[in-house]
Each structure stands twice: as C-alpha cells, then as structure tokens.
Symmetry: C2
Subunit: 431 residues, 2 copies
C-alpha cells in the first residue's frame, strides 16, 4: 500500500512562499511522513534569476522549465510564482505531463479555472488551490470535503486583509480612508499600488473561487460585481457605528431558487454578527447551509508561512488521495443561472446629503414609501456638503431601495449621490 | 482507478444522528458520487428494537451485529450509537474484520483511543472521529490534514454548547446559574441531568481528543483537570463584565518546553478575544501555531444533522483515501511529558470575600506581593457574605497566584473560599 521511496515535488517559484514551503517541508519532515506514509522532498524549483536566491541549496534552482516537466520522479508541483503569463502555460504543461498541481494563484484560478480543471481531469491528476483563498484558513478543503451534504446556500467573507485593516482603523481611530490607507502602507499591510485590494477586485477573485466550489458552477471573475472601500466616506462609518453597526468589506455568494450570484460590497454588520469582531488584517468566512446552520473559519489571510502551510496541506492531500478518484469529478461544473443581487432582501443603510430646508425629509420618506421600502430608523446629522439624512430600512429588496435612492437623487435638494450599504443579516440564530 | 459499484456502509445505531446520516446520504447522493467517484448506500443499521424506528425502510434494520461484521460488501461503518458498552466491542470487531469505522463517540475515543487506534492500524483500516468533537465544525480534519506543518502549540475552545448557552444568559440577562440552567433545560439545550456538561466533563473528553491529535500523544480523559460552571457565582460574571471581560468555559491544551497539558476551566476573555463573541449554544476552537498564528473555527457544536454532516464527511474521506496509507500512521503516539497547568503564565482574576474592616486590602496586597504577583486593578464591591475584593493581576504563574490566594484564604478575615479565574490571552495580534 505505501512505499518508502520519497515523494518528489517541484516548485514553480522560490520567493517568499516558495522558500517557506521548502523550509517547512524540511522542518516538518517527520510529521509529513507520519501522515502520508512516505517522505516528501523538493526536487527542483524554477526561478528566473538564481542569483536572487543565494541562500537556496546547491542544485535546487533551475531556470529550465523542462527540468520539472520532464522529470518522471516529480509527481506534484506547487505553483507559487503568481501571475497569469507564463504561469498558465506552465501549469497546463505540468497537468498534461501527468503531474498534480497545487496553486496559490487566485487570479489564475478565477480567470482560467475552466481550462485548468478540464486539463487536470483529462489527465487524471489533481489541481488543488487552498492557498489561493485566505492562506492558512482551510476554507477550500472544508467546502470541498466537509460540507458535501450541507447544500451551502450562502457564503459571506472578509477575504481581504488590507481593506479590513483600513476599515478597522477607520472605525477604531476615526481616521479618514486616505490616512488609514497610508498607515496600512507604512505597516506593510497595503501595497504601494493598493488598487487590487481597495477596489474589491482581489476579494472578487476569491469569492469567484469559493462560489464555484460551493455551487458547482463556474463563477468567473468578471461576473462578480465589486464595490470597494476606496470611495467610502468616514462619515458613513461613523453614522453606522452610532447605529451599532461595523462597516466591513464583504464578499458574498448566494444560491437562491436554483440560481446563483456573487459580489463584493461594503456592508453594515450588527455587533452580534460573528464577522463584526474580525479586526485588523484577519480574514473570516461564514458558510451557511441547512444541515450546518453556520460555520465560520477565521485567521490570517496572508503571509508567507501561512500561505506555505496551505500549499503543503494540499501537497499532502494530493499524496493521500492519489489514485482513488477522490475530488477528481467535483470539477464537472453545471450550467446554473445567475440572478441580480438586487433581488436579495436585506435591511439597508441609506445616506442622503441634502439641503437643510423644511419638507426634505417628507419627500425622502415619500420616495421610500413609493417603492414599498419601510423605514426602521432615521437620524439627521450636519455634514460637510449639506445635511446627512441617515436611514436604516426594514428588510426590502435591494433593487427597490436602490430605485427609491435614485428617486431622491433626482430631486433638486440632493447635493451628492446617495450612499447605499446593505446590512448583512445572520440567518441562523444559535440562541 | 474508480469503479461504479456502490460503496456500502453500515450504521451502528439509527437514532437522531443515524437516521440523519441515512437521510442526508440519500438526499446528497449526487454530490457524494461527484466527490468520491462512486455511489454510496446504507446496507444495514444495527438497532436494539426495530419497532422503535417504524419509519425506517424495510430490510434496513437488524438486531444481529454479525450481519454488519460478516458482510464483505460493507467497507465502512458509522458508529452513531454512543456509550462504551457494547459499542467498544462492536468497533473492535469491525476493525478486526477489516472495516474502517467512523465514530461520533467522544467518550469511547477519549477513554479507549489507544486500543481502538491500535486495532485500526494492525488491520490497515481507518478510524475517523470528526463528529466526536464539535459536530459539523471540522476541527479534527483541519488539525490532522491542514495543520501538519504548523506545530500547533495551543488550543483554546468553547466546546460545550450547553454551558456556553448558560453563561451567555448569565452575562446578558443577569440570571443566576440555577435560573439559566433551568432555561437551558426548558429550551432543550441542557439535559434533565446536566452533570456531564456543567462540570466540564464533556468538554474534558473533547479537549483530550484534540490534544491527542495536535500533540501526537495519547491524552487520556482522566488526565484532564476540569472545573465546570456549576459552582460559578453570578457575582463573578458581573464583576468580570464591569472590568470588560466575558466569562466562558474554556477547554485548553498546551505544548510548552517539550511537555503538554490540558484542562477545562472558566476563564475571563477580553472583548477583543475572538472567542468572547461566541454566544449561545455555539462552539468555537482557536488553534495557535507558529506558521498559522491563529485559526478559529466556529459553528453549532451539536444537533442531529450537524453531527451527521461530520459523519458523512468522514465516510467520504475514508473512501477517498482508501489504500493510500494516508492518516494510517499519525496515530503512532509519542510518549510526551506532562506539565501542571499552574506553571502557565497569564493574568488572573481573583475575588476574595472578606470582613469589611480597615487593613484587609493591605493584607491581601501583601500576600500577593509575597508571591511576586503584581496587581493591575482592584475593585471593591459589597457582596452577600461580605465585601468582595476583586483583583486583576498582571501576568503571573497561576501556581503563584493560587498560593497567594490560599494565603489570603487562611486569614481570619476571609469569609468564603477565594475565586480564581485565569484571563485567556490572545497570543497572536493581527493588527
């Protein structure tokens, strides 16, 4: 059943994650052999410029991709180089050569998943990708292997640590967005060009991957609407806090009436929502399904060793399931319809910036009533560009709330575009 | 590699969990076949009295254990009958007959794990037990399969929903323990005899299992000191709340300096501790390790469908790894030393009930100073049996704090035994 000859793995890339994979594999050789029944060793690592990795052991690095592809003793390759080109071609070639691949690359998977999973299946090998979403938080494994019978119908996640760090600073220190971003950059939580993170594009790639697994359909990155935090006004974070809510950037995916949807949007979370307390650069994902109610996974969503931990978990899982057909067929995706998130019902936060004249509130209320949107709370605040009318609605279809907001925006007394933030409800209640 | 003949499984027991396993297997047949590559069907279920399960399909139930043991087409059996006797003998016989077993039985595993894992290994079959701890929260799988290289050095969990429900009620409604317990019983969260839960014995069995996996040693139930909530005074919950802390029943396991320890004890948690917000009957487990920092898993810790979800996840995992040697050898436990939890350093909450006379506080403070325990905060409250002196210490060895408390208890002015509750620290800080 098990042999004692070492399993040899290849690495595409030897940067922060790649070298951490190598180090952790050596440091944990005994634990890994105990779990897999066989020792695991790194055979070769592909890099562009070996001179940049002077600390790598002699003979490990290569600039020749064929050395990995054509080595019959290498059965698993970990892709930790990132990017789409030439990564995509390398991965396809490795799958074609009968090697299983473990990837940490959310962009590659969310944009070319179809092609890659198809190639893995045709060649009878595995493509695993735990490290592509939330680093060491094993959400992919849990969704694929533990939640098989649960019919997960909703996923809500804080899947981008940069934006959660920025929002935490805005909430806790009252720092405007630009200041909180600058602090995140100074501390290394945000890149010099933070666009991918703050626009929600990074979170969109991750929820596309999670939605694809959970709903057995191919959710492509470009299908995921994303609104980031780059346009978020500190005033709304403060108004929300006064009402007892935290603002978080939430990546959501839903299955409803045989159709699915996914998006990224800043949302209000009540203090008792499990994701409300997830602060700083941490990530957390909440899975909701009939037979599990809600399961939440939380932890650091980034970091070299954290990502390497997930990569190695996948490598070990490939070894542990090789030849059994396990997880070889769950990538047969179904053609499932999409629905517009505006169809979803939730309470909503609205902020209108208006002239400070009598009768305005009445007109705003009338617009909401015209669209069957019922008001739970109204607060007025003096704002910079006019009076802020802050409204918390009762549960309503977001499309109706949006239409009412558009109606208000068309009025002469409206000074800036209305702000609409959904309130993230907790469907299960343990108490 | 994969066949299309169905995998036939047996059930030991057909109660709430067993019938849910059967129902979910049928409802999710398509998903399961997609993951395993083969259909899965229930061949037979062993029960004591078939008349009590009138809704079971014809021919499914049997009172004859040999029908499961001797059926060569049954390769996996799910043990969902509970208890030690005759369950232990059934499981040993099934393992001996070459069948893998999935068990939801924390008592069986924490008391007879050695014998059972030894039998599984000798026979080249698997013994999985996800459902024995925290139902649908996949903490066993994550510890065994995702955290292989992380060297988890600490586990802290809220692993008993009954006590967490009671504590949540005490905190939120100011209900005394007895009233909160009665409410939990009325709502079905606590049994008529709640001893196992409220004394911490149930939590002790669960942390014994988790410590055994995480530290690769055999932690036996009887090694786990447990203090429950049955003696917890509402006054201490209220004093803690005033200081900004929630009281939770925490099951902990540590590895430190090559030795390990585990125990169950009520602890104080600061508001920003991820476990502080886990309310009601929910469970949550926090894993800390060098390469993951902290990963938290949260969800419902009980329930028929929730437990069945975990059982099926294990059945599917057995099928997916059969014959690969995966997880066959991680039950080779090492002989590892134990250390007394009193060696651990943490801030502590102390409450002394004393005579209301001048000089008492000075004597209390002197006792603490004599044991090198430094005081962070002192608050005095009038109490029923005397004045409550509430002290929050700085970080100190719990054994020293205990010795100081014993010194105070020996004084004439002490009216009741001192209360000592450790403060659960969060070692990783994401921000």
């Amino acid at each position: 059943m098990t042999g004692t000859s070492p399993i040899r793995i290849g690495l595409l890339g030897y940067g922060t994650v790649g070298s951490a994979v190598h180090r952790l594999l050596r440091d944990s050789a005994e634990s890994i052999e105990r779990v897999t029944g066989q020792p695991v060793e790194v055979a070769a690592a592909l890099v562009r410029d070996p001179a940049r990795h002077a600390d790598a052991p002699d003979g490990l690095l290569t600039t020749d991709f064929a050395r990995l592809r054509d080595d019959p003793t290498i059965s698993v390759v970990a892709e930790v180089m990132g990017g789409i080109d030439p990564t995509r071609e390398y991965v396809l070639a490795l799958l074609g050569a009968g090697k299983s691949v473990v990837s940490a690359n959310k962009q590659l998977l969310s944009q070319h998943g179809d092609e890659l999973f198809g190639a893995a299946e045709r060649n009878g090998v595995q493509l695993r990708f735990e490290a592509s979403v939330c680093a060491a938080i094993p959400v992919v494994k849990v969704l694929r292997e533990s939640m098989i019978v649960t019919n997960v119908h909703r996923i809500d996640g804080i899947v981008n640590g940069t934006t959660n760090f920025i929002l935490t600073r805005m909430i806790q220190s009252g720092a405007p967005y630009a200041d909180a971003l600058a602090e995140a950059q100074a501390l290394g939580y945000a890149e010099a060009d933070p666009t991918e993170d703050v626009t929600g594009a990074d979170a969109a790639a991750k929820i596309a991957i999670l939605a694809s697994i959970a709903f057995h359909t191919r959710m492509r990155l470009e299908e995921v609407d994303h609104v980031g935090i780059n346009l978020l006004d500190l005033a709304d974070v403060e108004h929300a806090a006064e009402l007892g809510y935290a603002v978080k950037l939430i990546a959501s995916a839903w299955r409803s009436g045989g159709e699915v949807a996914a998006r990224v949007h800043p949302c209000l979370l009540a203090a008792n929502h499990p994701l409300a307390a997830v602060d700083g650069a941490f990530n957390a994902v909440m899975l909701q399904g009939s037979s599990i109610r809600e399961v939440i996974l939380e932890g650091p969503g980034a970091g070299g060793e954290e990502t390497a931990t997930a990569v190695i978990g996948d490598v070990v899982a490939v070894i542990g399931t090789q030849g059994t057909g396990f997880l070889q067929h769950d990538v047969h995706y179904r053609d499932v319809g999409r629905f517009p998130p505006g169809r979803l019902q939730s309470p909503c936060y609205l902020r209108f910036t208006v002239d400070d004249t009598p009768g305005v509130l009445a007109q705003v209320a009338q617009q909401l009533a015209d669209h069957d949107v019922s008001v739970a709370q109204v607060v007025q605040h003096p704002g910079e560009a006019g009076v802020h009318i802050v409204i918390l609605t009762h549960r309503a279809a977001e499309g109706d709330v949006r239409a009412a907001a558009d109606g208000v925006a068309a009025k002469d007394f409206s000074r800036t575009a209305p702000v609409l933030l959904p309130v993230l409800e907790r469907h299960a209640d343990a108490t």
